[in-house]
Assembly symmetry: C2
Amino acid sequence: MHNTSRSVNMVGSDTEEKASGMHPSFAGVILQRNRIKEKLAGIKNIIGIYSAKGGVGKTTVSVNLAVALAKMGHSVGLLDADIDCPNVPLFMGIEQKMDISGFPLKPIYIDGIKVASTAMIVDDAKKPIIWRGALIAKMLGDFFENTEWGELDYLVIDLPPGTSDAPLSIMQLLDIRGFVLVTTPARISAINSVRSGLMAQRLSKAILGVIENMAEGAKPSGNTEYVAKELGSEVLGSIKLDKRISDYQDNGKIPVMEDESIFNEFMEIAKRVA
Amino acid sequence: MHNTSRSVNMVGSDTEEKASGMHPSFAGVILQRNRIKEKLAGIKNIIGIYSAKGGVGKTTVSVNLAVALAKMGHSVGLLDADIDCPNVPLFMGIEQKMDISGFPLKPIYIDGIKVASTAMIVDDAKKPIIWRGALIAKMLGDFFENTEWGELDYLVIDLPPGTSDAPLSIMQLLDIRGFVLVTTPARISAINSVRSGLMAQRLSKAILGVIENMAEGAKPSGNTEYVAKELGSEVLGSIKLDKRISDYQDNGKIPVMEDESIFNEFMEIAKRVA
């Protein structure tokens, strides 16, 4: 990995570290990780869509990239792993819940992809989930272990923001092949994106590349190039700032299925990811 | 409170709940809360700027509202309590660190306000802080307890996003007078804002009002009116979408100090908050 020699602000990093990443801070996680790995053995590539900063478009990228990969002919799953703001069902206009009366949980097949979201297994997704980190880790572990994805070419995961508890648990629990970072043209977003990438690399995860969302021009900004360079990675493409994307999503419609120019932008990125 | 009868998705809410909010899940927090309350006794109003969803403009509102309140003649402090993405120093162009060689910690006086940020007490704020929630709670508690604000009319707090560990700890540790919610005109942002408000109300915190950031017109959208109505609160005002705001902030300049129309928008809101 390019930047593993860079240190991070982490308590106990010398004593707690293992070759595979941070030592998990709760019992049973290693066993669970192995069980999850077995359950997800039919998935060829698990790809995390990530940014430490919120509001940059992780969910937009997750949904549209998943649909674009499916349109290329791949079998694709989309896992919404954000517990605090699980917005994938809203973005896709899905009101259906998963049947939680028995295991395994079955993702919902819609728009050519299999979708599972934490919002689909709670009684009212509009209410806040006010949980401590250990409980969130437990819930995520159980969710990952008991959802039946079957055979997939790609499982795209919409990660929660931050560098702490929830994304840390997900990075520890899932054998993620690599991360796609989402950023915006702003310099402040770029600084936070480097932080995101350093976290993923710290946990021995590869950075597949960086996507600029809300781009102002046809080409990614210098700030996004900076992020890719700092992380020894590359820019995968950019999505132009377009009010219609937000409008489609507010109405539960998927931009790549509605508009050809947005479709083309995501297909370019999907080809580079695949 | 308007909506306290509404339930939330929370494990152990029946057994763990107390009149003052959730039972803290780690030892010593009640004693620490009392010590913090004593230390912050010279502050007349503690106001939290909050949104469960990231990227809606919490930091923009925090910085500019704090400066606007100071321009009205109030003594103001600004506390950046986001550990994962502590962006206040970037937004204000502050490179100075706080002296952590001894207690109490002293906020930095700049642009007419006192500023403290978690980014000012770590060795390199650009590196990720990869911590479990209990450790974050400990760090925040120590930070709150040992920062000397003196006498203030207002302490504005820039909260982290989410409804779980870090914002929960802050809401439990600090005697916050009320919350200002930040949202955008998008329907999805509004749904997440209601979730934010329900969390604050669940912890017996008042909602002072809702601010629409990135507004498209001169008036707040119907979605923001919806948020205020759902929470039994009011719309405090709106900040028009303006590329210059992001550009100023990327260069460490404070929009209300640079532009009269932006200044006027924030002064309207500051008057309603004050």
